[in-house]
């Protein structure tokens, strides 16, 4: 446990000290600000009352969580696919302890960042998030999935650059998928199987929990995603160690 805490603390510091990580806080707020301007424009000049900001802000914040996969994948590349790998492997730290500590540090950072962004959207943009306990549950779940996906990205990329590229693509896909149900204004127009899939993807399940829409169903979906990503990361992680 002492070793875990030592490595965890090291990577928590590194996550918070890296100025590039501030981007994941700033970018969704920039987008939300743009949505607010658009909503104001629609209301002031076209007299259209929309709920565009609310509809987009939550998926935007939750979708951005997935960019944090780069934290874990990046640090693992930096330390485990470089000469420092030998330094770490020759130490009395079990590799699984190292991996878990890096993931836990990434998890803490992404939950913290998510909470900050949520707080700013409440104060600056009057976004209504409902029950904050559920918001926290969703943030914990999505950031956990994000860290597991970071391990998978690390495993299947050869260096930090390709890992960062894949993390961004992954983040963009997850955000796109999160916004898709919102853009499809009338979900009943879509075929039922597509509706079901869209409503049970990680981010849309998170939105449903927050929006009190099929909450139990959506929490179950999040748990299934956690199980899938954890199993994949565990199996792939074992292969990596061998």
């Amino acid at each position: 446990m002492r070793n875990f805490i030592w490595i965890f603390t090291h990577y928590v510091k590194k996550n918070f000290q890296d100025p590039a990580n501030l981007l994941v806080i700033a970018l969704p707020l920039v987008f939300i600000f743009a949505f607010q301007l658009l909503e104001n424009y629609l209301f002031d000049f076209m007299e259209v009352e929309s709920n565009f900001l609310y509809g987009m802000a939550i998926p935007m914040v939750l979708g951005f969580q997935f960019f944090c996969a780069d934290l874990t994948a990046g640090w693992l590349h930096y330390d485990m696919k470089s000469p420092t790998r030998a330094r770490l492997l020759v130490s009395p730290i079990a590799p699984k302890v190292f991996y878990m500590a890096v993931m836990a540090a990434g998890w803490l950072f992404s939950v913290f960042y998510g909470a900050i962004v949520v707080a700013i959207t409440v104060v600056a943009f009057n976004i209504e998030w409902g029950n904050y306990a559920y918001v926290l549950v969703v943030l914990l779940a999505l950031s956990f999935i994000t860290q597991m996906s970071g391990v998978l990205i690390f495993r299947y990329t050869k260096d930090e650059k390709s890992s960062a590229r894949m993390s961004y693509v992954f983040g963009e896909i997850m955000m796109g998928v999160a916004i898709l149900p919102v853009l499809a204004a009338n979900m009943t127009d879509l075929a039922r199987p597509i509706q079901t899939i869209l409503n049970h993807l990680p981010v849309s399940a998170g939105i449903n929990v927050i929006a009190n829409y099929n909450r139990l169903d959506s929490i179950a979906a999040l748990l299934v995603w956690i199980a899938i990503f954890t199993a994949a990361a565990f199996i792939i992680g074992r292969q990596e160690r061998q």
């Binding site: 002492r2 070793n3 030592w6 490595i7 090291h10 590194k14 330390d79 000469p83 420092t84 030998a86 330094r87 770490l88 492997l89 020759v90 130490s91 009395p92 730290i93 079990a94």
Partner: protein
């Protein structure tokens, strides 16, 4: 014995990298491990460190079976890798503190060890610098410092002086001697024969995954003492001269580097006059000397390869 390897074999695919290796490391000695590239030195070191498992045979370290999952031996083991294994985002002190923490050092004990190591590697004045701001020699010293924090019983140094200036090299060699004087066992690999001769109590020469000779420098010279080395500086070196020299009775090996021929022949064979005669017939020669055998000559005789020059073994 601090470490033993018995009948150890390691294969990568169809290639046998280490073949039925028997090796012992005595407590308190500085053991030199020599061999051309591909001799199996790094694989041997990796097995000793528990970074990889042997396919066959037994690796024992500190009276425990060594393998990738045995973490208890790691507290007594320090590895100085050939590559610089420093965390580039951390400064000198932070690197030492982080690595010390990996070995369970905390608080006052960690501070004291970091301070001792800073003095040992003479980087106190540079303690706030990041690795990129240090010279190659300083980075090497910090690399060594990271392996010393937990005061290991055995330190394995894999070519710790690659690419550094003579001053830093001397500092490192002195450090190795100091460590051994304090009772630490050191396994030292290098491409520089003079370093190995200067610091090692015992030398193991490996080639093609096997040990081909071992002993002190004097023992190695004595055991291969039935040969002498002649250095011929030719005016017009040519393949024809090389072939002619190879055919001289008693000559066992001819190596050419530039206009210099290193000829290994049976001792007291009296063929020096025949060599000068042949050199005269092939454009003449600028000089000829018969040398006392060095570790480099022994290595050349045993492996047929130069450690640093030619044949792609540099």
């Amino acid at each position: 014995m601090l470490a033993t390897m018995k009948n150890v074999t390691k294969r990568y695919g169809n290639q046998t990298v280490v073949n039925q290796l028997d090796l012992t490391v005595k407590s308190g000695e500085i053991l030199g491990l020599l061999g051309p590239n591909g001799a199996g030195k790094s694989t041997t070191i990796n097995m000793l460190c528990g970074l990889i498992n042997a396919d066959e045979g037994e690796v024992m370290l500190f009276e425990q079976k060594q393998h990738t999952k045995n973490l208890s031996t790691r507290h007594e083991l320090g590895l100085v890798t050939q590559d610089i294994t420093l965390f580039s985002g951390l400064n000198v002190v932070e690197n030492l503190r982080y690595v010390g923490g990996l070995y369970g050092l905390r608080g006052a004990e960690l501070n004291a060890r970091v301070s001792d190591v800073l003095d040992f590697i003479e980087l106190r004045d540079h303690r706030k610098k990041k690795p990129k701001q240090l010279s190659g020699g300083m980075q090497r010293r910090l690399n060594i410092g990271c392996a010393l924090l937990h005061q290991p019983k055995l330190i394995i140094m894999d070519e710790p002086t690659v690419g550094i200036d003579p001053q830093s090299r001397n500092h490192i060699l002195e450090s190795v001697k100091k460590l051994a004087a304090n009772g630490t066992t050191v396994i030292y690999t290098s491409h520089y024969m003079e370093e190995v001769e200067a610091v090692c109590d015992r030398i193991i020469i490996m080639d093609l995954g096997r040990i081909i000779a071992q002993g002190t420098v004097n023992e190695l010279i004595k055991n291969t003492g039935n040969e002498s080395t002649v250095i011929l500086t030719a005016i017009a070196p040519s393949p024809a001269l090389t072939r002619a020299l190879e055919e001289v009775p008693g000559v066992r090996q001819v190596n050419m580097a530039g206009n210099k021929y290193t000829i290994i022949s049976a001792a007291n064979s009296g063929n020096i006059s025949r060599i000068t005669e042949l050199a005269g017939q092939h454009g003449g020669f600028a000089g000829i000397t018969e040398q006392a055998r060095s570790l480099e000559d022994i290595f050349l005789t045993l492996t047929g390869k130069s450690l640093r020059e030619g044949n792609g073994y540099a």
